[in-house]
Every structure is written in structure tokens, then in C-alpha cells.
Symmetry: C2
Subunit: 582 residues, 2 copies
């Protein structure tokens, strides 16, 4: 058995933790309110192992059972977990427990959370976040070798940025919960009589909560859901994807250790592990005692959960059709680089990656004149291909492909597209594969599962191809008569099929206004004319609302009041005012 | 055609209304935050018709089509609407429109709300409330002759108190919506580059909302739902019960008039009328474009709506088993009067009325010694029967019975109880009808549909009788070994079958603590040792949270953040910071 970094803090009561982290919590809450830029981790290095020490620590975790003291279950080797970089099994074993046992434990642990004040819960959650940050590099290596993310992203996107989103949820929940007064004195005249009552209001948790993670980016959705639940007093069962367990298991281990150090029941956070062959999510999600389910994954299974987990409140993030509408550029090369970066980042295995890029037949207006549709295609393809040219850059930007299935689907789609290219009907856009997906050599990882993006030109007649999410590095360059047609089509697809993000490049203020209206109605967050160092599909914790709830891409908005308000209820009691309370 | 009182204010823009009502809105919002006592209508008389003038105005509404300018539909006589007091048909005709037409109109009217600021929407909603208050007596007579409420309750419970609950929803929604910033400037360094973005956040309504009213107390739930929706920008279709349309039709008429006077589309509020023979609620509730449903009514139909209106967010208030646990009295007669009042008020056709009263076999401790269980029974029966002894008091307190079906069910239950009384098994509590339901003569209304409460003694073995809601004036005096057994049973039934309120009389602080814990977990709001002028089941707007969402009695809490937060979403756009925004 191995453990990771020892605790940041020594044993500490929840009220001490509340005091210790009060200032950070207040700053985070201010950011949630103003939505200005904020990060808890800017200019801070993790206090835990880094570099070779972190690598050694990570490697010590492999081929061994993970240490989760007191966790229910039979320790079982996780054979589904294979690094996308090395293609070797991680060989870690985790405890596996029956759904009913996990839920029993969760129900028993609920009192440990209920007994804490809202400030104490926040202190406990922030301490968990700080301890995860201390171990950011080790957790990042676990993310890297399960999701396929590059080393940098595994520590930022799956590390500090995900922890910031978790802290955002703590702060948002703290605000919502703190608004409920704990008591009131109430006086009203009925006829000649003054009735004076003292009232108390109690926050009551809903009960056990399940958090189902996706394989490619678990931390980003798990942390907000876990912390919103813990703040509301709901015990949590984290259910990672069977091929991507380790980072979440380490996170659960740190959370349990924090609970134990604070004198709370560790089972307020548990881990549910299953295998691809014998999945357990459906049993957990539909258990009569499960009151909340946060689900990240496929639209199809998300719908199944919503349809069947009727006893629970269900929050989802599934999939969508993120689009780019091109009209005019103020800096052509910068725009090409920005779009190429977004479709390449982690090989588009992110919910914010664009898939459908609309190119007007009339071309795109630039400072140097009109770029024809063909020229725009060429520019985009060249910008995307440039990324893969340097293997080191490719490793950082594209990362590896999490699942064999993604590669299989891209290969099948390439075959379909080639066939359609030969079946072109008169007057239709010539379907054409503009950039074939191919493996590129990852430095240090000779066997890495990699692929350059598949880029294909299609027309509006080929909607059977582009009106569903093709998970992974797939880009459709869709020919449209003009930008307004593109806008209408993209917004309509977002509303009908779901979308989280949308992108527009235009110097026309009227078109920008129309796009803001159209994507607001469709519920896709719109990024306009952004180029430069920030990935255009970067979603900033504390500032960018992620998932609107207005289209089929999901209902879980990171983080607004509705993400928090349904996770607890308020119950009151009242009695005649006692003298001491006057 | 007749119209009711002319508009309070002359034509007024939404921004003028926002300014005019800003102070009241702020006061209401403060009350929502502190939950101290507040009413917008204390010490104010309605400016509209009163006394004989109001009666004349009400009578002029009868036997004629209601004037709803511009409302879609075929004007149709409402034959289901029969006064419980006179047993005569009201003879009012209302426009009936197809569900699809109403929803089309609602969708078209949505823009009228979206174009308003949050403050303007609040101004518009408060103006509607003020206009309804001006017509409080006429609206009250409409409530009286559809629901069967007494004259006083029709102007308070269905009038000012319901309007206060509406204002509470406006204020709560105003707070939640106002917390979303409309824009932010965001600056963060990526590598060497400072990225500066301007972000805008837009509140996007969900879409058409249906508000389904119950027959016996429509205003109380309709106003909060309507105003929470209008604040969020959702156009509303109010669907009254076919036997209880008039008050809601008048309310809709006033809301539409206010919209028109403010230059907004009247169809932001519409009326859906159907008949008992050809109901339309299911079609409306499950229409693909209907995004929100607020339902008040039976648990069975509420479940149907939740099961089938999958395209909508559904808020419910259905039914439950409200209980009284007796342990000890500090003032025996005051306690008997308080309980008798609660079971008698509007003949228990209220969601807060207690049905199950637990009496310990060991008796109840009082300052004058122990009162035996039989003596407690006798005291309660006498206190209830005293109310019906004066017909004028009975008319004010008991009111009339809204539906023939309620009387039929009480008669059938009485027969069942008599049969069980004869089948008593050895060692079981002797089931006994302690007070037969009988009609009492209502002053001025010789044909009024009236009934005294049916009071019966039962034992815990008779749970088939008392573990479902018997709508109307039915009281079970349940013999239990002791108060702790009663508490456990009552809380368990609340959790399993639903409950909104619970009541405890005890001088034992340990028992009170246990009751607060048990009913908090069960989600029933607890009233302890309250006697005197305030009906113990009175629920105060701005202060008392109504319906917890923790048990089957419903999910719509008046009014907490979760009642508001799901009715709108936020969508953002972002672009490089422009100089003028720096």
C-alpha cells in the first residue's frame, strides 16, 4: 500500500479551518459576485512534490492497491485503466463495494456534515482544495495517464483550473446558504392581540449524492459537484469512469483524510469503482435513497439517467455541437491560429472544443481584401497541421487520445467521408477530406495513442454528418452561402442538439449583435474575435458561466445559484417568543 | 360585457412603475432577507369598491361574458362554476382557446418581458399586485363564490395574504436576478500576454410557463408562481380549476390590463379555461414548448404531471398528512381552542390544516394535573363543536364546502368508521365516531353546502384510515402509547406520505428538541405551543417558508431561492476589451 503526500495541515477542527481559510473564501465569493478575474493559485507553487520527486511518487502508486483507510469494499485490480501515453496498465487496485453498502455508509455519514455550520463546511472544503493543490503535480500525472492530457494541461486544466471551479462552487454555495437566516423574531397584531413568535430556520440536506465522472476530464466537473454537495450537507459518492479512476481516487483519498483530520466521518466522501464489463452507475443512480446525481458523459446515457433516476435531482453535462461562424477577420493569421488551437487542444476531447466551422461561399473579409472560401480552408488546415509538426508542441497541445474507440470512430468517419466525396450530387458542395487523421510520434512515449485532427469540407446538405457530436479531433468546414445563414444554422443546431460554446469572427457590429441574441436564445456562450495567448475555448472559473441549461448539452451551470439551490431545503419551526429572545 | 374597477394608475411605462414601486419592493426584499413580519397591506384599505358597491360590482359580473380584451378563444359559458354558498351557477363565460394557440401567443409575448430590465419587471409586477389589492373585495367575492371561503378569508387569505405571497415572490426573484452581474471586465496573464476581455451576462427566460390552480384556494399558489415567472421573463398561462375560475380570470384580466397600460403585450399573461368534462391541463402541461409547470392539486395528478411533463421543470404542491402531537399543555382551554380552530378553518380545505391528532393513552399533563385521553378527546370535540354552534361564527370560520365530492367522501368515510367500530378486535383501540358531520345553517345562504368536521377516534392499527389525506373536515384522534411514539409516527408519515405542517404541544424541552429534529428531517414546518388569536396553521408571507420540498407534499417552496433559480438561465458573451470599456 502507498499513500501520497502527507497532510498539509496537521489535525484541525472545522472551526479552525473556517478561520484559516476565511480570507480566501471571502475573496472567492467576491469574484463569484463580480465575475472578475480570480484564481486561488496564481503565483503559487504547490507545496507537495514536484519534478522527479512527483514522478517517483506517482510511479510508486502504480501496480499497487491505493490506500483508502476505512473505505468499504474488496480491493480489486482495475484492469480497464491503461495509460494513453504508455499503453501500459496502471495496475492500481481500488476497493469495490456494493451500491447499497456505499449508500448506507453515506447516510450514516450525513450527520457529520449536518452538525457543522456553513462556515465550518466551507473551511473543510477549502482545506480539501488546498491539500489537492499541494499534490497538484502527482494528481496531474494521474490525470495525464488516465485521460491522455498533456503534462501542462494535467496540472492546469485538470489541476488549478478545476480546483478553482471547485472553490467557485464552495463560494457560490456559501453565499446561497448564508442568505438563509437561522432565526427571526416575528410580531404581528391579530385583532387586539400582539402575536410574537420566535422562528428558527434549518438547512436540511437532500441526502446521498452521486457524482459520475467522464473519462477524459473528470476533475473539472467532479470538484464543483462534490463541493456544492458537501456545502449543502449531502454525503457524496464519486463514481469515476472505469478507465480513468486514479486521479479521482487520489482526490477522494485527500478529501477523506481531510475529513478524518477534522474529526469528521470519512465516509462523507466515498469512491464507487466498477469495470467496463460490470458497470454499476445505473444501480447507484436509480437507488431509492440517492437524492442527487451529477452526471458528465454521453448524451445518450445522460438521457437515460434523467429518464430513470426519477427519485433524484439530476444535473448533467453531456455533449454538443460547438460552432465557429466566420465573417471577417481583423488579423487573419491570429484568427487561424486561435481556431486551430481550439480544435487541437487536447485533441478536442473537451466539451468546449468547436467542431463545426462555417465558411461563407463568398469568402471572409480581411484587412487585405477578401479571402476566398478555399483560401480560408487552406489557412485553417495549415494552422492545424502546423501544431502537429513539432512533436513537443503536439504533445503539449494535442495530448493523447483517451480511448481506442475514439480512434476507431474517426477512422470509420474518414471512410464515410471518402465515400461521400465520390457520390457528390450536382450543385452540392464537394465533400472532401482536407486533412487525414494520422498518428504523430510523442516524445518519450513511443506507444502513445495520438491522432492529428480529421478536417473535412462538407455542405449544408450533409447535415447527417455534422449535426451530432463526433467526439475527439474532428472538424467540419461547412460551406454556407453567407455568415447570416451560418449564424442561423449554428444557433438552431445549438438549441436542438446542444452546445456549450460558440465562436464568431466578425468586424460587423450588427452581425455581432445578432449573434449575441441568437446564441443567448440557444444557450451557447459566445466568444467574439478572441485571438492570442488564451485558448479561445478556455472557460475561466469565477467568471465564465459554463453550460447554460437552455439546450440539450446539459443542466449543470458552473456556477450559478441554480447549481446550488436545489441541493438543500429549509425547514422551520416557530414558538411563542421566550423572554430571553426578546 | 362587464369590466371591473378601472385602473389604479393611468398609463405608465415600466420604468415609471419601477420608480413608483421601488420603496415597497425594497421593503419587501428586506423582509424576505430577515424574514421578520411584513405586509404591504397592513393598515391600508383597498381603493376600489367596498361593501354594497363591491357586491353590486360582483353581481354585475354574473350571467355575462368576462371582458378580456384581445384574449384568444371562443367565449363559452362555464357551467362547472357553481357557488358553494348559493348553489347557483355563476353563469360567467370565458374565452376558450386551443392549447397550441395559447402557447403560440405566449411565445410571441415573451419578447415584451425580455426587453424589460429586472427593475422594470418588478415595477410591472408590483403594479399588478396594487391593482389587484384595489379590487380586493370584488376579487374576494369571486373567491368566496367559487371556493366556498367565508367573506373574511376571501379578502385576507385569498386576498391580502395571497398578494403578500405574490409580492414575496417578486422580491425574492428580484434579489436572485439582481445578483447576476450584467457585465464584467476580465484581465488575466497568459504567459507574457495580458488578456483583457469584456463580458456580458444575459438573463434568458426558459419560455412559456403553465400555472395550474386548485379549486379551493387558487390565489395563494397562483400569485407566487405567476410573479416568479414574469420576473424571470417567462410568459404565463393560468389554468384555473373548471369549478373555480372567476377569481383567477379577474386576476388575469387585471394583469393584462396592467401590461397593456405599460405598453407591453397582454398575452404575457393568458387564461386557459376548460370544463370538467373536457379537461385540457394534460395537453398544456406536456406540450413540447411548455418549459415550466406550477401545479397545485391532488397528489395523484401531481405525480402524473411530474411523470409526463418531462420537457418542463415542474413545481408542485399536492397534499399531505399534517399532524398534531399532544404531550402537555400550559393552558388547556387555549390549546383546545387553537387546535379546534385549525381543524375547522375553511373546513380544513387548506393544505396547512391538521388531520391526525395523536393522544397519548397516558393522558396529557396540564397545570391542573393529568387529563386522561378520554378527557382530551372530549375537550377537543367540545371545542370543535362550539364553533358550529353560532351559525355566524361557523360561516366565518368553517365556510362552505367547495365540492359535492368532498361531502360524499366524508359520508362514505363515516359509514366505514361505523362499520369498523363494530368490528373491534380484542386489545385494539375502539374505533368510534366522536362527532358526526352534519350540515349547519349558513346565515343569508339557506342552500349553502356546509358540514361540521367528522371527528373519529382510531388506533395505530387503523393506519389504513389515517395514512392518506382525507380532503376536507376530517379529524382522526389517534390513540398512541405516549408522545414519543406519536412523534416518531407523525414524522415518519410526513416523510413517507407528505406533510406541510406539524404541531406540538409540550412543556418538555427535550421532546421539543426531538420534534424539531424529527420534523426538520421529514420536511414539515413545526409550530410549537402556539395558542391565541393567530390561527396556528397561518403561514406568514415573507417569514414562513411554505412546503419544504423534502417530502411528497410538494417541491414549490414559497419563497426560497430554489423557487426562483430554475426559472431562468444566464448566457454570456465575451470579446476583447474595447477602449471605451476600460
Amino acid at each position: 500500500m502507498t499513500t501520497i503526500t502527507p497532510a498539509l495541515a496537521s489535525t484541525c477542527t472545522p472551526s479552525e479551518l473556517a478561520a484559516r481559510h476565511g480570507r480566501l473564501l471571502s475573496a472567492a465569493a467576491r469574484a463569484v459576485t463580480t465575475r472578475a478575474a480570480f484564481s486561488a493559485f496564481a503565483d503559487r507553487a504547490p507545496s507537495g512534490p514536484q519534478g522527479d520527486e512527483a514522478t517517483a511518487r506517482f510511479e510508486a502508486l502504480l501496480e499497487t492497491p491505493l490506500n483508502l483507510p476505512g473505505h468499504r469494499g474488496t480491493v480489486t485490480l482495475q484492469t480497464d485503466e491503461i495509460s494513453p501515453w504508455t499503453r501500459l496498465p496502471l495496475g492500481v487496485s481500488y476497493p469495490r463495494a456494493e451500491a447499497a453498502a456505499l449508500i448506507d455508509n453515506a447516510q450514516r455519514a450525513q450527520a457529520t456534515l449536518s452538525s457543522l455550520s456553513i462556515d465550518e463546511r466551507a473551511g473543510l472544503c477549502v482545506e480539501m482544495i488546498e491539500r489537492m493543490f499541494a499534490d497538484n503535480v502527482v494528481l496531474g500525472l494521474a490525470a495525464m495517464h488516465t485521460t491522455g492530457q498533456g503534462r501542462g494541461m494535467s496540472q492546469s486544466g485538470s489541476g488549478t483550473n478545476a480546483l478553482d471551479r471547485g472553490l467557485e462552487a464552495v463560494a457560490a454555495a456559501w453565499q446561497v446558504l448564508s442568505r438563509v437566516p437561522s432565526n427571526a423574531t416575528w410580531e404581528q397584531t391579530f385583532g387586539a392581540e400582539l402575536v410574537a413568535l420566535e422562528k428558527t430556520y434549518r438547512i436540511v440536506p437532500m441526502g446521498p449524492a452521486l457524482v459520475v465522472a467522464c473519462a477524459s476530464f473528470p476533475a473539472w466537473n467532479v470538484y464543483p459537484a462534490v463541493f456544492a454537495n458537501l456545502m449543502a450537507g449531502n454525503p457524496v459518492i464519486v463514481k469515476p469512469h472505469p478507465s480513468s479512476v486514479l486521479q479521482m481516487a487520489l482526490a477522494v483519498s485527500i478529501m477523506r483524510e481531510t475529513l478524518t483530520d477534522a474529526g469528521c466521518a470519512a465516509d462523507a466522501v466515498q469512491l464507487a469503482v466498477d469495470s467496463a464489463a460490470k458497470p454499476v452507475t445505473s444501480v447507484l443512480a436509480t437507488h431509492p435513497a440517492m437524492r442527487i446525481v451529477d452526471f458528465t458523459g454521453s448524451a445518450r446515457y445522460g438521457s437515460w439517467v434523467e429518464e430513470n433516476a426519477r427519485q433524484a435531482r439530476v444535473y448533467t453535462e453531456t455533449s454538443g455541437l460547438n460552432s465557429v461562424v466566420l465573417d471577417s477577420f481583423s488579423d487573419t493569421d491570429a484568427a487561424f491560429r486561435a481556431i486551430a488551437g481550439a480544435v487541437s487542444l487536447f485533441s478536442a476531447q473537451m466539451c468546449t472544443a468547436p467542431q463545426n466551422i462555417y465558411i461563407p461561399e463568398s469568402g471572409v473579409v480581411t484587412p487585405d481584401g477578401i479571402l476566398s472560401a478555399d483560401e480560408v480552408e487552406q489557412g485553417l488546415v495549415a494552422a492545424v497541421e502546423a501544431i502537429a509538426e513539432s512533436p513537443r508542441r503536439a504533445a503539449a497541445v494535442l495530448g493523447a487520445i483517451q480511448s481506442d474507440r475514439t480512434l476507431d470512430e474517426i477512422a470509420a468517419l474518414t471512410t464515410t467521408l471518402r465515400a461521400q466525396a465520390n457520390e457528390q450530387a450536382l450543385g452540392q458542395v464537394q465533400v472532401q477530406v482536407l486533412s487525414e487523421p494520422r498518428s504523430w510520434p510523442a516524445p518519450d512515449f513511443a506507444d502513445a495513442r495520438t491522432s492529428t485532427p480529421l478536417i473535412a469540407r462538407v455542405g449544408l446538405d450533409n447535415e447527417n454528418l455534422f449535426t451530432h457530436e463526433c467526439f475527439g479531433p474532428v472538424v467540419f468546414l461547412i460551406r454556407v452561402p453567407d455568415a447570416r445563414t451560418a449564424l442561423k444554422r449554428a444557433a438552431n443546431d445549438a438549441a436542438t442538439h446542444g452546445a456549450i460554446t460558440a465562436f464568431l469572427y466578425s468586424t460587423d457590429d450588427n452581425l455581432i449583435d445578432s449573434a449575441e441574441d441568437a446564441f443567448a436564445a440557444a444557450g451557447a456562450s459566445l466568444t467574439i474575435n478572441v485571438t492570442g495567448a488564451m485558448p479561445i475555448n478556455f472557460s475561466a472559473a469565477f467568471s465564465d458561466f459554463h453550460v447554460s441549461g437552455l439546450n440539450p448539452a446539459g443542466t449543470a451551470t458552473l456556477t450559478d445559484d441554480s447549481f446550488v439551490a436545489g441541493r438543500f431545503r429549509v425547514v422551520q419551526s416557530r414558538r411563542p417568543l421566550r423572554p430571553s429572545h426578546n
